[in-house]
């Protein structure tokens, strides 16, 4: 009996692949031939598709494989972002999928899932998928993306390190094959993000890998309603709980909060008391708060297109490498968001009267990304903080106070209606019907109601920690659901009682006049203003330049 069967298989694959390389470098035009030689039907493959960067050259090479030779692959990757990712299923090169996020392909993903073209394992949160890489979803072959490589296989990932170290760790140390595309082959990489002995083949890419500017929100598009909601969050949540360590999901609502910290937050005397330490992608809209001295430290999941020079010039705030540029790491930052932050705030597409929410609708499957992780109360946390304990006291329902748990704040920030007057509040999530139709065994819920502490809409704040039973909770949610059907079905007397107890707080209860929610509160009102705040270091992508 052999205990080294996997190693033997790996060596066979390496031998088969080496016919198409000089050393580790794949010869021009031979990437597809190498993949056909290395891959076996049914292989579990991670085709690096992160939240931001994409191994697009290797995706193309994989798509060009002969489906008679390469088929029934099981893709295990966090992002389904490129059209090629789904083309692989249409060509039957891939059959099964486990993933986290599919924003740009959400409509086609929904269609292909419902047509049975993709065999879906589960929609994960990032950290959960990464965890499974080490237990039951270990890739046999990883196809990853780097900025540069040397001939020994050392890789430089640039600011978008993202998922790469995690994927490589799981693959290389379990006798898998790691194939990297690199924008250029150099004598010496600027810094070693992945050591060469973990990388088997390198494909020089004809063009730099694709990165989507996912975290740029143009301040020009922020509405008065979003500013009002940002005021509610700062005065009604960040201030009373003293939130110093936090994570913001992406959206115009959170962008509005970031942009009124130096104005509205300053006027409330909150500088230095809230929003000091972040697990956050480098949102351009955080620049004014950073430049105004609000922010001490930011660890990043990924980077953001155009922010590279600014980040490199602010090493006191951001994590940077020996080369001076940002080092991001999604697994570590997700862990930071889970265990070391006292608050998560983010948006969603649908919320039901129990507070469950999802971005999965019948026509769109955008996946979850990091939200279920950041948007959950970590029951393994053991260190106290003032805000965690305050929330714990509010949620405490009898028993020994000395053994009380703290509570992470999980805030859903939503406007009652979305685009095209589609209500955010619904009696039943589409996810329930979707899960049943696909036989998933689990409705794809993004954040479960019992993890949510607050729901903020333009109608006010519902503090779910203070609700004593399911009925109160339901009325608290209906009470901030505005003129949606869910909101109009509220029990007015019950909602009035909840307001008296401070479970629901309207803007006027917090001393906020909706007429003060003016765009003049935004520290930057355009992308150009952000460039100015950065001293010209932020270089926005062309599509955001309108001057």
């Amino acid at each position: 009996m052999s205990w080294q069967q996997r190693r033997g298989e790996r060596n066979e694959r390496l031998g088969a692949g080496s016919r198409f390389t000089n050393g580790k470098i794949i010869r021009a035009g031979e990437a597809t031939a190498l993949l056909e030689a290395v891959l076996r039907p049914g292989d579990r493959v991670c085709l690096e598709g992160d939240n931001q960067k994409q191994a697009d050259h290797l995706a193309k090479a994989l798509l060009a494989c002969d489906p008679a030779r390469v088929h029934d692959l099981h893709l295990v990757q966090s992002g389904i972002v490129l059209p090629a990712h789904l083309d692989l299923f249409e060509r039957r090169i891939a059959r099964r999928l486990d993933f986290s996020y599919s924003g740009p392909q959400s409509t086609r993903m929904a269609r292909m899932l419902q047509a049975g073209q993709i065999e879906l394992g589960a929609v994960h949160t990032y950290l959960e998928l990464f965890a499974r890489y080490f237990v039951d979803l270990t890739p046999a072959v990883a196809l990853i993306a780097a900025v540069s490589a040397d001939r020994d296989g050392n890789l430089y990932t640039g600011p978008n390190t993202e998922d790469t170290p995690t994927i490589v760790e799981a693959t290389a140390f379990r006798d898998g094959i790691v194939i990297a595309q690199a924008n250029e082959i150099v004598e010496r990489v600027p810094r070693v993000d992945i050591p060469g002995d973990q990388v088997h083949f390198i494909a020089p890419a004809p063009a730099p890998f694709f990165v989507e500017p996912l975290f740029t929100r143009d301040p020009a598009a922020i509405t008065e309603t979003q500013i009002l909601m940002a005021m509610l969050v700062i005065k009604g949540i960040y201030a009373p709980y003293g939130i110093e360590r936090l994570n913001h999901g992406i959206g115009f609502g959170t962008a509005a909060i970031e942009l009124i910290l130096p104005t509205y937050g300053e006027s409330l005397g909150l500088k230095g008391r809230i929003a000091r330490r972040w697990a956050l992608n480098p949102h351009p809209t955080l620049i004014p708060a950073i430049e105004s001295g609000w922010v001490e430290q930011v660890h990043c999941f990924g980077s953001e297109v155009g922010m590279e020079a600014y980040l490199a010039a602010r090493p006191d705030v951001f994590f940077t490498g020996s080369d001076g540029s940002l080092r991001s790491n999604r697994a570590y930052c997700q862990t930071a968001g889970l265990y070391a932050c006292d608050l998560f705030i983010g948006s969603t597409l649908q919320i039901d009267p129990a507070g469950h929410s999802s971005t999965v609708t019948l026509s769109r499957v955008a996946g979850f990304g990091g939200a279920p992780n950041m948007g959950s109360d970590p029951r393994g946390r053991r260190h106290p903080s003032a805000s965690w304990l305050k929330a714990g006291r509010e949620a405490h329902r009898g028993g020994d106070a000395a053994l009380m748990r703290g509570r992470k704040l999980v805030v859903q920030l939503v406007e009652t209606f979305g685009e095209k007057l589609i209500p955010t509040f619904v009696e039943q999530l589409d996810a329930v019907q979707f899960g049943a139709r696909l036989g998933l065994g689990l409705a794809p819920v993004m954040v479960y109601g019992d993890d949510v502490s607050h729901i903020v809409t333009e109608e006010g704040i519902a503090n779910l920690l203070l609700c004593r039973d399911a009925d109160e909770r339901e009325q608290a949610i209906r009470g901030v659901a505005g003129y949606t059907e869910v909101g109009r079905r509220r029990d007015r007397a019950a909602v009035a009682r909840l307001r008296q107890r401070g479970v629901i707080q309207r803007p006027e209860d917090l001393g906020i006049d909706p007429l003060d929610a003016d765009r003049s509160l935004l520290a930057a009102r355009s992308i150009r203003d952000l460039v100015r705040w950065s001293g010209g270091l932020y270089r926005p992508p062309a599509r955001y330049r309108n001057w």
Binding site: E224, L228, F417, K420, E459, G482, Y483, L515
Partner: protein, 105 residues
Amino acid sequence: METLSFRHTAAHALAGARAHALVGVVGSGNLEALFERVLDGNACVVEVVTAVAGYGAVWSEVIADFVQRYSPGGLRICIHDGGARPDTVALRLAQGVSLMADDHE
């Protein structure tokens, strides 16, 4: 295009001296509202020209809440709605009333 008309009796006439005011802009997701102090006593009429049909019940509640909250007696309000959401409607109505309640003509 659908035209809706809502007639209310407010608790009292709106304070202030201003004869008319215009808030907002016509545009997608936004709306323009013209406020005129032309009705007698506590009467209030709100006319809505909306691009999105089927939201009569929502409009009716938004406007009833608005009248109860601000008591805009004496006003005729004309709204051109570019598919605006109720929160935008409520905000523009509040902005208009605030302008009309101003003492200066």
